[in-house]
């Protein structure tokens, strides 16, 4: 069986030649949640954008390939690629307020994608959206559909975007820090919803986050990133039982835990950072040789 998403040896560079993705390989099986975890600049959002075909124009993919359900995205014409990505993937963004058009009501914004991109009839799209609003536990769909984004709370807006993401039955969802802007109690509700819908619809998710706590709760597989390189890849259960890479261990020790306040919140050891820098430099050198 084909993986839902397969990324092989993907490298991307900035105009100055600096690599921002360093030979990234990962796969997401159908119905599986893979977390991409790392600190700022780790390239986790960049990978999500590469998959969705929305990399900034300054970033150029120079090597590697991405397969969506077995179809090599690099071998498709741009229009065919966009159509394929549009039909089979969806995004749950970090900030629902900027992702929604402030001057349009929620209803048309949610049905737009179904009607204009997938060619559904208006009535079918409306029925579908209401069904999904029910699944994300919005009990007054009429009010929500008529609202403008600013009239809803942060949690409600994120529910709307989750409903929109699942509405077209995508095979893969890229969730980019979807709970980072939310309060903890709302975050928990949203994580529950994403997990429930993901299970029910059998959707694969590439879940971008900086929070190892969220990784532990939502994912089955995890890739730990640093400076655009996957430094560790594992089953989530295995990663938390026995993290292999020193950086992963350092990240875990730095994450605060109210259950163990004095064993957590440990600053990352300089030696770990030096080791990482050496690892990145060695990888770049090895990569440059055949690439001039």
């Amino acid at each position: 069986m084909n993986a839902c998403l397969e990324i092989n040896n993907l490298s991307a560079v900035l105009p100055n030649g600096q690599r921002v993705l360093r030979s990234v390989s990962l796969s997401v099986q159908p119905g599986e949640v893979r977390a991409l975890v790392g600190e700022s600049g780790a390239g986790k959002t960049m990978i999500g954008k590469a998959v969705l075909g929305v990399l900034p124009s300054s970033v150029r993919i120079v090597e590697g390939d991405m397969k969506l359900e077995g179809e090599d995205l690099g071998k498709l014409q741009p229009k065919a690629r966009r159509t394929l990505i549009g039909a089979r993937t969806a995004l749950i963004p970090q900030d629902p307020l900027t992702a929604l058009n402030p001057s349009r009501r929620i209803g048309p914004q949610m049905t737009d994608r179904l009607v204009r991109i997938l060619g559904w009839g208006g009535e079918k799209a409306d029925t579908r959206i209401r069904q999904l609003l029910d699944e994300v536990q919005i009990r007054d769909p009429d009010r929500v559909l008529k609202s403008y984004p600013h009239e809803l709370s942060g949690g409600m807006r994120q529910r709307v975007l989750i409903a929109a993401a699942f509405a077209a039955e995508p095979r893969l969802i890229v969730a980019d820090e979807p709970t980072t802007a939310l309060d903890v109690t709302v975050q928990k509700q949203i994580l529950r919803l994403i997990a429930a819908l993901q299970r029910e619809h059998g959707t694969a998710i590439l879940f971008v986050t900086h929070d190892l706590g969220v990784v532990a709760k939502i994912s089955q597989k995890v890739s730990v990133l640093y400076a655009g390189k996957v430094v560790e890849e594992a089953d989530t259960v295995a990663l938390f039982a026995a993290p292999q890479h020193p950086y992963t261990r350092a990240l875990m020790a730095a994450t605060p835990r109210y259950t163990d306040p004095f064993a957590s919140l440990k600053p990352v050891d300089e030696a770990v950072l030096a080791g990482l820098a050496a690892e990145i430099a060695a990888a770049d050198q090895a990569w440059r040789r055949p690439h001039g």
């Binding site: 903890v184 928990k188 706590g213 990784v215 989530t236 039982a241 835990r257 109210y258």
Partner: protein
Amino acid sequence: MVEPLFSVRGLKVALPDMTRKPLIGRAPLAEILKGLDFDLPRGSVTGIVGESGSGKSTLGRALVRLLEPSAGSIAFDGRDITHLPEAGLRPLRRDLQMIFQDPMSSLNPRRTIGSIIAAPLKQNGLGDRLKERIAEALQRVGLPQSFASRYRHELSGGQRQRVGIARALALSPKFVLADEIVSGLDVSTQAQILTLLEKLAAEMGLTVAFISHDLSVIRRLCKQVIVMREGRIVEASATDALFENPAEAYTRDLIVAIPLPEIDAGWLDVPAAAKAPT
């Protein structure tokens, strides 16, 4: 018993509600803090926790009198500062320092780090031996002396926040307000900044109000905690007691909603408590 540094009684703060402002005329007032009573004991770190909109930042701003209360009283170091005018506050400012959430926007982009740290020193008659004092302030937060000639954009997020701490502590204040000082930082940097603040607070015997939405961080740093919700205090107690035996259901909900970095297969199956309608 030692007198607390802050003694707050019946504190209310009302601010203009811009969402209800008519096109012409003043915005109506909305009560943000609805009557708070608490003390901040000397020489220890008190956590103030709550979700967005709970009023925790407004409370911090009232303590350092960036806002004037609409009712109640604030006594600082035995002195009523509730309605003290700016001129009366000025001599107290050196003892009421702040570290902000976003060091990028709280450091002047056009001045060197040295001159940023020097400003409060000069204003408080400590303009002599300035170079020495700046070097001392930088060293305290683990930055080399050479940083005095740099600008904020040349610094990383963690280094910027160190400068924010250096500036706040340069005058050896009695009180420091730290409002979400690590929420923009990566976890590895966050650990450095918090352990630094923890160490300095202990060494200098500072009284700190540590505002945060992160209860895990609060448990580590704070001796007592005030839990806020919708402008009121839900619960205030010693940190260990609060975590081991929270008196209020709301506090318990906040604690169990934190996703710990460990496998817990059932965590997602337990419903997060329903939020009160806002």
